[in-house]
Amino acid sequence: MAKYTSMAYQSAEEMVFGTAKFPVKYGRDFEVGAGFVYPELVPHPRPGSEETKKSLVREYEKMVNDVLERCVQLGFPGIQVELEHVYQMTRNPDWGGEIAATTKRLMEDYHRKYGLKSAIRATIADYRKPDEENMRSSSALGNMLATFEASAAGGADNLSIESMGGKEISDYAIVRQDIRGVLFGIGVLGSRDVEFLWKQIVEIAARHGATPGGETDCAQANVAMFMAGGYLDKSVPHTFAALCRAIAAGRTLVAYEQGARGPTKDCGYEDPIIKSIAGVPISMEGKTCACAHADMLGNLVAAVCDLWSNEAVEYHDMFGGTTAAVFTEILGYDVALMNTAIKMGKEKDLRDIMINSDKYRDTHGFILSPDNAYEIGKAIVTNADSYYTRSRAAAIKAAELMMSDQRLALSEFEKNTLDTMYKTLLGLPDKEEDFIGECIPVYQKLVKGFKPSNYGL
């Protein structure tokens, strides 16, 4: 399978928000990565509204209208709305399709009336259960593909997914600080499943003139980051979570090797690495996704973004309007700041301010700081023999970066964890087949329901 063997950018210094090597154009006068950053608003339906198709469609109609109206009220030039499917929308393909169609109709009204630029991302819910079903032929998979079709037909401009491949292993490994398991679950199994899925998504997109958008390792790297949490949490060491993230880059990259063109999926925190390699426009989330989850790189993560997202906010009333309108407003001003900087020729000043805000706040911000992300990207493209070799190389590079920068303060415990993980990584086989051969029996014994055949093994 063809893999990236070179970087899209000459250097990290070249990377900045608003511009990508390969801009993407779709929707209503909407172009991403072509010089401006746009907000991406993700609204979530209220509990109960998912009970019938009618009530769910109505819910989306209200939410999307609030988003578009607030844009016009405040003068925002354009916006992307993500339809992040709740289970019911993918379980019933026609639901997802009709919601996409309704969203498109509203967007066309606002475009006609005011010239508001807009686009739709449909993110299908991957509800396959790796440890319970056959991931390459289950009915869940059938529904997912049918929903991609229905969404594209309905008017989705960008097709995306948060896929699950390797999750049964990574779930086991992350809570046991088992870096080998993470490498196997994310780097090998995850990558293989992404390859399997995206072949088909790209094909569906092509058939409907939609754009194959983005993948994310939410299922694995975000679990680790999420559990690592803040300064007071004691669930997963932050250095370990950072290694999971580096490994995830190799997995997410597969989607773009299969033909996905971005903008990438907002919750893929590994995307700065992806952008350095693939040059696709990336959607990121940080401080303004606090409504969805906390992270420790709220500003830094915007440094090289092309879309800026809130990840997800449930629809409710606030003093200032509905949450959909409120977060549209915050995102809209966030990107207005970035776009103003661009127009003033100060975008790199603002980028550097964002970076310095969080580069040494925590390990995640550290490895995703564009300079370090770029280094990890280089480790990936120069170790392209296999999914395994490049993921492992990414982890080793991330570890070395963390160990070598004195400005990154680490507690004793974090340091020790990092050292142990680093040694383990170095001790692993060099060839993918050897690694796979070593892992399969081990994890078949440890993880109930793990079936290598789910990954063509």
């Binding site: 003068g75 005011y114 003093f319």
Partner: protein, 247 residues
């Protein structure tokens, strides 16, 4: 400080793009009536008195009143089409009401109103601006408004309803911590076997909340009040009105 000359890509002035409705078009049978109408359309509170008095020298008070109302209808159209802003509307209504008062004196009797509406702002809440706008717009449309003012105890609302038997009751609250009074009012009214459309509005008040108790109808914008009042007067019950305005 460095300033840009070109703001494209940062913001879009959608307000400048919007097409305006056509300008004022007022038609009257003769000059003086024309002046009466114009005074209302222009919200000319300074001259309305003299103009109306002049008109009354030759015209029947009821005809002058219908000219005043005609002017006000034109204003409503201009507002609806976005030519006028709220202040123009309120000034016109001030002018019209002043004119009508003069005609009533001449007739020796008050014009009978379309119906009675009681308005109030919730107990503990002094955010009464929305209510004041509602009052103005209801009066402009010929309703008798009994204004209980702001920070009105639940008891006072109940007894006022008993006393005046209004076609509609309105409540304004801008704080989620005071809007809770509306629910109490609804319960008390039901307890006393009374049922009437209770339109509640105000920044903090959500459709979700208001449609959660009996009689409650959510009012999004003060400009809805007159239409709601006419529905209430023409006998629609609160369920029908909720169906119409909240769904």
């Amino acid at each position: 400080m460095q300033f840009l000359d070109d703001y494209s890509g940062i913001f879009v002035r959608y307000d400048l793009r919007r097409e305006r409705g056509e300008a004022k078009a007022v038609v009257a049978d003769d000059v003086i009536m024309q002046q009466v109408i114009e005074c209302v359309v222009d919200g000319d509170t300074d001259n309305i008195e003299s103009v109306v008095k002049k008109a009354l020298e030759t015209k029947d008070p009821m005809d002058v009143i219908s000219a005043l109302v005609k002017g006000m209808n034109e204003v409503s159209r201009l507002w609806a089409e976005g030519v006028y802003y709220l202040p123009q509307t309120i000034l016109s209504s001030d002018a019209m009401l002043a004119g009508i008062e003069i005609c009533e004196v001449k007739m020796g009797k008050a014009l009978d109103k379309k119906g009675v509406v009681i308005t109030h702002t919730a107990e503990g809440d002094i955010h009464d601006l929305g209510q004041k706008i509602v009052n103005a717009l209801l009066r402009a449309n010929g309703y008798e408004v009994i204004d209980l003012g702001k920070d009105v105890p639940v008891d006072d609302v109940i007894s006022a309803v008993k006393k005046h038997k209004p076609a509609m009751l309105t409540g304004t609250a801008l704080m989620t911590t005071t809007m809770t009074a509306f629910e109490k009012i609804s319960k008390r009214l039901a307890g006393e076997g009374m049922a009437l459309p209770f339109v509640c509005g105000g920044g903090a008040v959500s459709e979700e909340y208001v449609t959660g108790f009996d009689m409650g109808i959510w009012g999004k914008d003060a400009s809805q009040a007159p239409l709601m009042a006419s529905d209430a007067v023409s006998g629609k019950n609160w369920r029908q009105m909720r169906e119409k305005y909240n769904s």
